[in-house]
Subunit: 148 residues, 8 copies
Amino acid sequence: MTLRVYLSGEIHTDWREQITNGASGLDVSFSGPVTDHAASDDCGVAILGAEADKFWHDRKGAQMNAIRTRKGISDADIVVVRFGEQYKQWNAAFDAGYAAALGKSLIILHGPDHAHALKEVDAAALAVAQEPAQVVDILRYVLSGELP
Amino acid sequence: MTLRVYLSGEIHTDWREQITNGASGLDVSFSGPVTDHAASDDCGVAILGAEADKFWHDRKGAQMNAIRTRKGISDADIVVVRFGEQYKQWNAAFDAGYAAALGKSLIILHGPDHAHALKEVDAAALAVAQEPAQVVDILRYVLSGELP
Amino acid sequence: MTLRVYLSGEIHTDWREQITNGASGLDVSFSGPVTDHAASDDCGVAILGAEADKFWHDRKGAQMNAIRTRKGISDADIVVVRFGEQYKQWNAAFDAGYAAALGKSLIILHGPDHAHALKEVDAAALAVAQEPAQVVDILRYVLSGELP
Amino acid sequence: MTLRVYLSGEIHTDWREQITNGASGLDVSFSGPVTDHAASDDCGVAILGAEADKFWHDRKGAQMNAIRTRKGISDADIVVVRFGEQYKQWNAAFDAGYAAALGKSLIILHGPDHAHALKEVDAAALAVAQEPAQVVDILRYVLSGELP
Amino acid sequence: MTLRVYLSGEIHTDWREQITNGASGLDVSFSGPVTDHAASDDCGVAILGAEADKFWHDRKGAQMNAIRTRKGISDADIVVVRFGEQYKQWNAAFDAGYAAALGKSLIILHGPDHAHALKEVDAAALAVAQEPAQVVDILRYVLSGELP
Amino acid sequence: MTLRVYLSGEIHTDWREQITNGASGLDVSFSGPVTDHAASDDCGVAILGAEADKFWHDRKGAQMNAIRTRKGISDADIVVVRFGEQYKQWNAAFDAGYAAALGKSLIILHGPDHAHALKEVDAAALAVAQEPAQVVDILRYVLSGELP
Amino acid sequence: MTLRVYLSGEIHTDWREQITNGASGLDVSFSGPVTDHAASDDCGVAILGAEADKFWHDRKGAQMNAIRTRKGISDADIVVVRFGEQYKQWNAAFDAGYAAALGKSLIILHGPDHAHALKEVDAAALAVAQEPAQVVDILRYVLSGELP
Amino acid sequence: MTLRVYLSGEIHTDWREQITNGASGLDVSFSGPVTDHAASDDCGVAILGAEADKFWHDRKGAQMNAIRTRKGISDADIVVVRFGEQYKQWNAAFDAGYAAALGKSLIILHGPDHAHALKEVDAAALAVAQEPAQVVDILRYVLSGELP
């Protein structure tokens, strides 16, 4: 059994590396969004041509990124969504809702301060973790039944 | 043709009343979440019993509210999601993602300051409006072809 | 908004009447299985002819009852599953799994003694109640936002 | 043709080994739940932190196990559900209902004493067997047309 | 609860009338194919123009009839398929397979002589009856729990 | 049985009126796009604000019209697509493909000159007509079995 | 591109071998039912125990065969259904209906004498052939664009 | 991550080669229709026998090509649809609608002259490009996050 795991959300810390490194011996294939913030913001106009209006500049980029995001989520068994300390992160919550509606197993990852604000998102999840290492433990347990 | 419209998101201003009043002559049936903030937070424990741990207090409430939210979104033709000036509003973005995955027609309603942060959400929408009156205009046009 | 509610499970107490009576002023339409135990056991052979083998006697009846059960669950917004104090009640757990896979909102109703044995079933539910009156309270809240 | 088979249900006898050993020469890939009872009960709190309340202790574990169970059932062509002599085994019946709603081919495995109590579950199955060796015979026949 | 029932298959006896008359007091809405054999054969060319080749004459008619058939089956809760004594009746078996794949509750109606030849069709059904009156009894039982 | 019919495509002749008038005694409910060409082109900017770039002017309008189009097609039993003598009419062909993928019964309406160019579209249809009156005849036949 | 092709229907001539041999150089993977008539009839009782009543003898076998049939059809891109000169072959027509409802590409294979009786089945197909060699030609063309 | 890309539409220029050559180092598998115009027009009659009527000649061919087209689009993550300078190209727009309804990521490729006529098709796309090289850039970015 190979688990396909999509890592959505916060892009300013190394949580994805912590998980992929921690799971290096496990039968897991990871995917996720483009995490280069500048490339992610500008991909649309860089490839398809500049826009005078910032709104359409953003639209072009967001739709191009959606090609990757939708495939990653659609192909996944598990979608992990990380909410960091900063920013609105509405795209993370959007991905969580999208994944929930597709029936994916959701793992939400956030610090205790966000618990109340994320209660609807957490309520759709099969696990709510605080640390990337816990996500690794979950993946190991799901694959092998082995506990930490 | 009756349009079924779910009004998701911000609960601290009267935007829902503006839309439902504005659309009073149109063949639209509206639904939405419970907008009494205290009831929405406490419904779980009020009905099913108190919890010592705030996390499970929240979980009970959020899952009870999900009974209403899921039905409202599943039955809707159009899901309008309003992002206000304050708060994290991750449940609003979650609803938008959920509705998008179900193929619902999305209308996103927010002020210009949030445009960049909401670009992934807007990119999944068929219309992005700034004022409730514009949502009414859209509903009227969709039903009758009449422009303001 | 009309809620369609299917009442599955235990047939030896009056919990269905408690719920339907309690919800008499609410916009809810209820359905459920045939609760006449003898009719439910014998319907297949009574209509389609006797069987020498008890296994096929049971099969004929169970499949005939499935016509009603599947329609009730498929049409429902909410499936309430009641586990009583006695019997195996595997059909109740089967209905819960069936409803879960269809994405129905599940409410599980049982006494505290069954909590551990029902943990997988409860984990798929949006509410776990102990008393029929709590189910009525949930239906009222979901419809009107009114708490007890 | 590779058959993907999920082995659900009773975890106190070696019926899974009997089937996987018996099918060792066949093109079948097996999956199943974590069968270490203690690990399965405690996985949630072991990884995500202790709970004071047994109900939430169980919830955390049951939802973590659901990540594995849902993937196993969703990916399967055939779901075999074994009911043993003891315990409530509501999770087994839940899995059977879940698999039935997804249109999986169901094989139910139980002794004759449970036949009446399992009639609704059996009625959703394509085969009802008493012995693990019969399941092996079915898999061989389905793959090769060869009878015992 | 209204049952929507599609009556497929044999068109040379009055079995549809027997069922609709027998069910006259029940909350059932019936649909079925056009049973005027000549109209059914010729509808395509009568409306869309003659064809020199019988194969395309038949194709035009069969596709026009499919507009009605597909709607009737798609909208139905229960599909009853009657196999008579004569003719190939491949369209009846096709309808049964179509309905089975859509998850409809199937009732197959045929005399004992056809039992072996129809075993795959019967195996997908929730009831196999010999007489139209039995179908009426099933509908009454499913709606009311009342046995004959 | 009520047939829900969506009338897609060409907007410069009175073919929709011919069909709706011809079907005035039948149990059919019709829907279709906004057929006021100017309103359809400008609805997006008229309601949501002007665009400097014609491409985004068009995008806003097309997405607003999609709210109506998608609902109409999704709710329909039958989608009639009319190709006129002029213009590219790619939106008509797009609607036909969209409806085909949803499994709707398609009726294509066009003159003989377009037969070769429309062969892929026609091949997905259950009827290909040349005159609006033929569509009326089809609807009458599907509802009543009556031929012209 | 690998085409997965299920070969349903008649089992008394060598048409399957003609197709699989003819397609030996093509990227096609074939599946089909068990074609050993006796094994197919008796598999249920041979594995799961004898039945006194022929009807249940047949039921057990038909349901066991359905495990293979459903997987084969569900996994297929193309379902070829062959109708021979003899027998009722209702299972073939059932498979065709089942495949049609799942949106599979259907190829129907039969002699000219059956054309009228099979018109509803043919009308759901993308190709109607008379000879196995034509099916090979279709598979080659679909894969490579090469005509005979 | 392998991207499966279907290249639909115009067959008179080398745009497919430009994309497949440009993407030669990327993890993409391409598919598309038969691009030999004569073979595509005549495949039906070449394999299944001549037709006197051009309409049915076309029908046979279009349905045979649909076997390939439907598989290619159904299996794809991304559907690229190219509209050239000439011809009606209704099949291209049909494919775009078909892919949109299946939730595929659409990339539309056309010159600026067609922008207004294609506005409904473009509005369903995640990217609108003018040059094949831009499609290559999108595929590279989606796979690797690398911008040109």
